[in-house]
Symmetry: C2
Subunit: 106 residues, 2 copies
């Protein structure tokens, strides 16, 4: 989770999830780990990157919109989304975007 | 920088910048603050979100590709990019993406 994802040549998709948390863990940490484990098993999953300070940012990469839709509708993930709205997050925003170009070095 | 950006209705663009740092500050912190200050003055700038743990993620939002190109070519920013490659970053990746859909709550 802590390294730069080795994504393929564009185009592919990025889901940018930014959030602020409520106080206390309340099971959030173990849920977050489980969701990553589960996402990695989904068709079309290409990688995920995450960091949190005041604001948390998780970017997950996907091969196509259908894979994102399937992941959003995953039963265990739906349960986590419900708990997120009810307790874990003070605010969040999800942005679904199409990566058109990338470059970098390592 | 620490709050969720109030972006307009899609479509708009997101530049996802992920990086790992080298040891020590070496002027990085003040450069990062200056670059945000400068980005905010650019035409087409819509907001920026940032967090760093092992991995640093900064997502900046822009109205169009031309604004992103102008920002990439900004003289002071070019100098920072050069120093980034030479010393501040161990690795980085820039992904230019088009936000097609967003939702959330606050």
């Amino acid at each position: 989770m802590s390294l730069i994802s080795k994504t393929p040549q564009p185009p592919y998709y990025a889901v940018i999830f930014t959030s602020t948390r409520t106080e206390g863990d309340n099971g959030y940490g173990s849920m977050a780990n489980r969701m990553l484990e589960l996402a990695e098993q989904q068709p079309g999953f290409l990688g995920a990157e995450s960091a949190r300070e005041e604001l948390g940012i998780t970017v997950s990469y996907w091969s196509d919109l259908e894979s994102i839709k399937q992941w959003k509708g995953n039963v265990e993930h739906l349960e986590a989304q419900k708990k997120g709205r009810k307790g874990w997050y003070q605010s969040f925003k999800v942005r679904v975007s199409k990566v058109e170009r990338d470059y970098g070095f390592s």
